[in-house]
């Protein structure tokens, strides 16, 4: 009996560790370092305005930068391409409670994912709400007790702490959902449910997830999911059939796919929250890859100083040589200019 208890305890610990504190050294060998510079004082905030945890960052076609941040209240700010402050979007919005992601679609609509209200909110370029996915539970139902036990079955039109959104060339919407559920949901461009992969249950098989934390789609409509708790990026076709999985670049916190004829995949092996001992040595870097999983290079490292990373939570890669990263534990957005690799590429797999 005692042995049984011990095993049980270890199992629970291992599960917990996987779910929330996953950290893994990348196994890809001989990956070239991509030199980069971080632009000093990129975002210029007006006096009396501060970023909190810089959770979400995205650019539109004009290069304007949107930052979705957890300050005293969760807020969405817009800056121009030079980092000059433009405006606040959705000030005091019903759906803003705990920021998780912001993305801008090809028509420059701004999409926000809030894990405190379980909503995916679409703003038009002017900053007005034009569509809402999910439903914020009514407050008259009373204070919600902190969830314990197994998650209830995932439903078509409600989320459980969703994390990110992506679109295919037809405008279909893909939502990664999330901390509570462990699935990806596909909706048509009008928000009607089509399909899901995964479920409310955690799992590590192909097509199962352990904290799907970010999502992106390529020009052919393939879908890439940062399966953070499983330390992998899973790739699905447009109907959410499993295709392949990339597992050699550490913990997949977030993913970005650059536009254009030759697309690149960026994925971050972010250092874990709380900076546990030793983690700065094995995590913190971002990988640049081909869509087929070939590793091209890596850049960055964990540090609290400018130029280093403190838990990268999101990246913008509209220009694959100009990456904008948002960090949790430094309350900072950095614009990185990637330099060409000095040496001849020796592709690592």
């Amino acid at each position: 009996m005692r042995r049984f208890l011990t095993c049980w305890f270890i199992l629970v610990e291992a599960l917990c560790a996987n779910a929330a504190h996953a950290q893994m050294k990348a196994t890809a060998q001989n990956v070239p370092e991509i030199p980069y510079e971080s632009v000093r004082n990129f975002l210029k905030l007006p006096p009396n305005l501060y970023l909190g945890e810089a959770i979400g960052v995205a650019t539109n076609s004009k290069g304007h930068v949107f930052v979705y941040t957890r300050s005293a209240n969760t807020r969405l700010f817009e800056f121009d391409q030079n980092g000059k402050y433009v405006r606040e979007v959705g000030e005091g919005l019903y759906g803003f409670e705990f920021a998780h992601s912001v993305r801008v679609d090809p028509e420059d609509n701004i999409w926000v994912i809030d894990e405190g209200t379980n909503l995916v909110i679409k703003f038009n370029p002017e900053g007005r709400v034009v569509m809402v996915l999910g439903h914020r539970p009514e407050v008259v139902a009373g204070a919600v007790a902190t969830a314990t036990g197994p998650a209830p079955p995932a439903e078509k039109y409600t989320f459980s702490r969703p994390t990110d959104v992506a679109w295919d060339p037809q405008g279909n919407i893909f939502v990664s959902d999330g901390y509570g559920n462990n699935r990806v949901v596909k909706y048509d461009k009008n928000g009607r449910f089509l399909k899901q992969v995964g479920s409310e249950k955690r799992g590590s098989e192909p097509g199962q997830f352990n904290l799907p934390h970010a999502i992106a789609a390529d020009g052919k409509g393939n879908v890439y999911v940062s399966d953070r708790g499983n330390n992998r990026t899973q790739v699905f076709d447009n109907d959410l059939n499993f295709k392949t999985s990339y597992e050699n670049v550490g913990t997949a916190w977030t993913v970005c796919i650059s536009p254009g004829p030759h697309q690149y995949l960026f994925t971050s092996n972010s250092n874990p929250n709380g900076n546990p001992p030793g983690t700065w040595d094995i995590t913190g870097e971002i990988y640049k890859m081909e869509l087929d999983g070939t590793v091209i290079g890596k850049f960055g490292h964990a540090s609290k100083q400018f130029g280093g990373f403190q838990v990268v939570h999101m990246m913008d890669c509209r220009n694959p040589n100009e990456i904008i990263v948002a960090e949790i534990e430094s309350w900072r957005v950095q614009k990185l200019t990637l330099k060409p690799l000095q040496t001849k590429l020796s592709y690592a797999k």
Partner: protein, 361 residues
């Protein structure tokens, strides 16, 4: 007879015998309780932290309200509750810094480093926040819990208990109670200090019982201490200050002593005749002094309240003040600024004010 006692006292002082603090000489002093002038719509709450910069400007980190808790879908989120103000040396209001800052929940302390950077310690977000002199965030230690649990659990929960992280907090540290994680994860930290090379020392705190050391870039170096009353153990680490030699003075409030360590955390000595040290400060300059407040509990003004002036050896030079609500009386002093040896600023929890004290030793 009186003269005999005085001479006995003097000879004891000279011979280095520890004098019972009660018999320490009284230091005369004056107070300017209304120094700070506020705009009409700004009020101090509990004046948890006060500090001056090299120009004599005064910074106050104050509890202006309880944090607001809002209901999310599966968790509850804490917002606001504390503000940081700057005044010039004449008490004229200069500005507010960090409006709506994510980590400003329950003010605990503010300190200015030699480069005039502003360091804020927040007890509820468990963060140490470094702002540059313009007020921009430069460095963060610790992380605010993502969410609060419903029903609420006490902030001072034992390590590993279900906490505010909503399932996303760092793993419970293993090891001695209060020893904390070997990282910048704090539990209700109380104070911050630096040595001459810029290494950062955090008093941590109410929840943990340790001192955590970081290099100037914020990289964790080491921590020492755990819960208890033995040497190098702590019971409520309530303040920290460092002398010119890099010795670390730790206000071990619950154990009624100030423990002194070398920069690596090796125990050197303990000072234990000044009551329960709640706020400590070391003066700059060639001859350094240590101030320590035996603050009264907020619920009682009939006990304690006096502030001691000591040599760094622990020898008591004198004391002044007592608990109370009048000028020259103290309501739970939580912070002392002693940039000038005879011109102190004290921040009070009980009286919601900052007094400027002029000592006449």
């Amino acid at each position: 007879m009186k003269r005999y006692l005085l001479s006995l006292l003097a000879s004891m002082l000279l011979s280095g015998i520890t004098v019972a603090a009660q018999s320490a000489p009284e230091i005369r002093f004056d107070s300017e309780p209304g120094l700070l002038k506020f705009p009409d719509n700004i009020h101090l709450g509990e004046a948890a932290g006060v500090a001056t910069d090299s120009k004599g400007n005064i910074f106050v980190y104050t509890r202006t309200g309880h944090p607001t808790i809002s209901i999310g879908t599966s968790r509850a989120f804490a917002h606001g509750g504390s503000r940081l103000f700057e005044f010039d040396r004449n008490g004229k209001f200069v500005r507010e810094i960090g409006q709506g800052l994510y980590g400003f929940l329950v003010a605990q302390q503010v300190r200015l480093d030699p480069q005039d950077n502003i360091w804020v310690v927040d007890q509820m977000s468990s963060m140490v926040i470094k702002l540059d002199p313009t007020g921009q965030v430069q460095l963060l230690l610790g992380r605010k819990a993502e969410a609060e649990r419903i029903p609420a659990l006490p902030l001072n929960r034992p390590p590993g208990a279900p906490g505010g992280g909503g399932g996303e907090g760092p793993p419970a540290p293993r090891g001695l109670p209060g020893a904390g994680a070997q990282s910048d994860v704090f539990q209700r930290p109380t104070d911050v200090a630096w040595d001459a090379s810029g290494n950062i020392y955090v008093a941590d705190g109410y929840g943990n019982a340790r001192v955590a050391k970081f290099d100037r870039d914020g990289k964790f170096v080491k921590s020492w201490g755990s819960k208890g009353d033995a040497q190098s153990q702590f019971s409520t680490v309530h303040g920290i200050a460092i002398d010119a030699q890099g010795n670390v003075f730790v206000a071990d409030s619950g154990n009624k002593r100030i423990q002194v360590f070398d920069p690596d955390g090796n125990f050197k000595t303990s000072i234990s005749n000044v009551g329960s040290p709640s706020a400590i400060c070391i003066t700059p300059g060639g001859h350094q002094y240590l101030y320590s407040s035996n603050s009264n509990p907020p619920e009682d003004i009939d006990a304690n309240g006096e502030i001691y002036k000591l040599e760094l050896t622990g020898q008591v030079v004198g004391k002044f003040g007592r608990a109370g609500k009048l000028p020259k009386e103290f309501g739970t002093v939580n912070a002392i600024d002693c940039r000038n040896e005879n011109e102190l600023y004290v921040g009070e929890i009980g009286n919601w004010r900052v007094q400027k004290l002029t000592l006449h030793p």
